[in-house]
Amino acid sequence: MRTLAGSPEPPAPADAPRGPRSAAGMHPLVWIPALVIGVAMLIPAIYLVIAASALPAGEIWEIVTDPSTARLTGRTLGLAAAVTGASVVLGVPIAWLTVRTDLPARRFLSIATALPLVIPTYVGAFTLVGALAPGGLVESWSGWRPPSPYGFGGAFVALTLFTFPYVLITVQSGLRGLDPSIEEASRSLGHGPISTFLRVTLPQLRPSAAAGALLVTLYVLSDFGAVSILRYSTFTRALYLQYRTAFDRAPAALLGLMLVAITVVFVVIEARVARDRGQQFGRRGAGRAVTQVPLKRWRWPAAALCWSVVLIGLVIPLTVVTYWLVRGLGAGESPNLAFGAAGRSLLVAALAAAAAVLAAVPVAIWSARSPSRWARLTERASFTGYALPGIVVALALVFVGIRLVPSLYQTLAMLIFAYVVLFLPQAIGAIRSSLLQVEGNVEAAARTLGSDRLTALRRVTLPLARRGAIAGGALVFLTVLKELPATLLLSPIGFDTLAVRVWSATEEAFFTRAAIPAMLLVVLGSVPLAITMIRERRET
């Protein structure tokens, strides 16, 4: 990190790093856990190497050079790039509107715009088809035929709506951590709100926007539900087909490894975007009240933007689900209340969020505060599980878990571990970007003033990480709510969650029974968002 390189060396030769030289002054309480976690995150990749090594070299070459592989890669990258771009274009302004302005119903919209994230893509896509496809609900109720939801366009819109909250939530968190005095200075120097946003606020949001964008990109790489329902063939769809139809795991493993390679490219790009900042801005405001930017005549267009996201990403799916419920109840079907499943969903989502944050803190601190190559590698290792389709990670943990820790196999502990492997980068990204908002030399300053490394860590670094930890925990919570493949294979037997109930019912066309679990998913999803909101209110 550029700023760290220029910061004064902390004057404490007594506790110079004794670990790997590259740990570069970081306390062992940070880098040792971080390294252990980084290695654990590589389990899926190791499994894929073992599984793919069963293939003869000739066949590997054949699969890698198959023209359809290149075509799928191209389609996948195109979709990922488009969805990521749109998510940033949508997520950054909405984050600013819902955090910094006098947008009407600002608090409500702040939660509602993020909620499409809890809708599993296979449900979201299915409901969009039910509503928008030719002959669907919209056409039969209004007579107007909306644009076709199929193909690239449909997959692009659906995935953007269901994943842009990754950008929204990380950028909201970034905004809350900004020092408002710089913006105030800009205003007092004659810049208007838009100019200030573009020239002062936006550059400071780069780390959080890049972190959120990376989460979107990698989510798109791993998505199966939306692309299969909306008829757009991608790499992951091919990988799932290989797993689901031919019981030979080796070719699927090879596809998985290629996906890991693609991931590495994106992770490196993100690092460029997030780290290559022209200058570092001030410090975080000391919990100071931020003046709301008046939108004036932009108030209602801004509100319309937010509401249209809520309409397509939340209202349409919920309307279709409500329609299922009403239609089914009318025909004498019984709904499935699923309160037990809701409790289990809440339990695993909260535990996974807490575990992911705990695991992410050392990795994020190390990678944000140390120029070490090991720190960077550790952070990047964590992305492999996230970018791989859930089924790959689940099977990897089946393979490894039953051999290494049979007593934990298919227990709650194992399930939570699986969620951490799958979603850790969400927590790391959020925490890391909240640390990057503040220069590394604040810790150095603390040490100049006599704190030892541990005290500086506890009293300076950790409090700075807190805001990111909350956003990251919320992201993990929301994503775990809808997780399916690992839950099915690794949960304690008989332990079903809301996502399982929704899947089980829609898979076999029991729509009435899917309705209430789907609604409860949205209700539970608003919990962490509401917590973030309450905290914000307390601080201002």
Binding site: S68, F126, V129, A133, P134, G135, G136, R231, S233, R237, L241, Y243, R244, T245, A246, F247, D248, R249, W324, R327, A331, E333, N336, L337, F339, G340, A341, A342, G343, R344, L346, L347, A350, L351, A353, L395, V398, F399, I402, R403, R458, R466, A469, I470, P485, L488, L489, I493, G494, R501, S504, T506, E507, E508, A509, F510, T512, I531, I534, R535
Partner: protein, 355 residues
């Protein structure tokens, strides 16, 4: 010192407590809840609970496990999931697999386990219950119910007579843009595999290319295809027979009907079936469960219950709602050969059906 995570951890603790309470009170949400049936009095031999990996949906079969527990006192624990994913899981677990029984949606997945020697040969009294066409020649697995491939059609635009009697007619130009299929779906692929076995590679390739030339409407699965037919996106679709009944249960005016294809490869009857794992240390209880699933009571119920209306496979038990298997006259296909899905996948890829 500034306390770390304070306001949040208070909320988290509250959430965790809420979750535990909800979990404890909520219990099992199983729609056909019968879990307390055997729990009240201790049986003589409580034994180990049986572990089932079920690729059959919970909504369809959980009642059968509950009834089994009520009848025998043997507890059953079930892991539900996707048929193929569970088969792969069993293969990855190896001999340490906790599963005693695998309940699959199609013969191919059972064949894959058999091919890796993961299933034991079932006792003769079990095998004798089921027509030899619907179980493995080796005896490694047996069908429990039959599921027929049909043409689902939109009753607003077509009458049953207008729907072809053979899937081979669908390549005729008159069906341009009117046929729906789900080429990524396991049941569809099992049907294509059957066509490769009965009609050969070349005929199958020609049929697939003819279908593609007709620009079929692609769905991701059977449920989506039936819905698509109802919306009119396609007029007919190649699907399994039983999805229709769920739609009818929720909407009695549902505008889709099934056309059976007697004697045609498109009318393939696949099975949902079970195998007992060779790694199981509870095989006797597992055989008991298989006997129960093939018992008169359960077989009769499968033929009647609208949630799971499938063909009973035991001689002398017929569904009042469905035609008999004799009437369907399904093509004679050795179901254990449906395991060769890799060849089907490659063929589908080659002709471009999976794009």
């Amino acid at each position: 010192m500034q306390p770390l995570f304070r306001p949040r951890s208070r909320l988290l603790v509250l959430l965790a407590v809420l979750a535990l309470v909800a979990t404890a009170c909520g219990g099992n949400d199983d729609p056909a809840d019968g879990e307390d049936a055997g729990a009240e009095e201790e049986m003589d031999e409580p034994g180990e609970p049986l572990t089932v990996y079920s690729g059959r949906n919970e909504e369809l079969v959980s009642w059968a496990f509950d009834d089994f527990t009520a009848a025998t006192g043997i507890e059953v624990e079930v892991r539900y999931g996707d048929t193929a994913e569970l088969a792969t899981t069993i293969l990855e677990e190896g001999d340490a697999s906790p599963a005693d029984i695998y309940f699959a949606q199609d013969a191919g997945a059972l064949g894959a386990l058999e091919a890796e020697d993961r299933l034991v040969t079932l006792p003769d009294d079990i095998l004798d219950r089921v027509d030899a066409n619907f179980r493995a020649p080796s005896g490694a697995w047996t069908g429990v119910t039959g599921r027929a491939r049909v043409l689902a059609f939109n009753t607003d635009v077509l009458s049953a007579d207008e729907v072809p009697d053979s899937v081979f007619d669908l390549t005729d130009p008159e069906w341009q843009g009117r046929v729906g299929w789900a080429p990524t779906n396991g049941s569809f692929q099992a049907f294509v595999t059957a066509m490769r076995i009965t009609d050969g590679e070349d005929v199958t390739r020609e049929w697939l290319e003819g279908m593609l030339a007709n620009d079929p409407v692609v769905f991701s699965n059977n449920t989506g295809a039936v819905e698509g037919v109802a919306r009119g996106e396609a007029e007919v679709a190649l699907v399994n027979h039983y999805y229709l009944y769920r739609f009818l249960a929720e909407d009695p005016d549902f505008n889709v009907d099934n056309k059976l294809l007697p004697g045609d490869i498109g009318g393939l009857v696949n099975i949902a079936g079970v195998g007992v794992l060779s790694s199981s240390d509870n095989q006797d209880a597992a055989f008991e469960l298989v006997r129960f699933l093939l018992g008169d009571e359960v077989q009769t119920f499968f033929g009647q219950e609208t949630d799971a209306l499938e063909f009973p496979l035991v001689d002398g038990i017929e569904s009042p709602e469905l035609p008999t298997l004799a009437e369907i006259d399904p093509p004679q296909v050795d179901l254990s050969r449906l395991e060769d899905l890799q060849g089907t996948l490659e063929l589908l890829n080659e002709v471009g059906a999976l794009e």
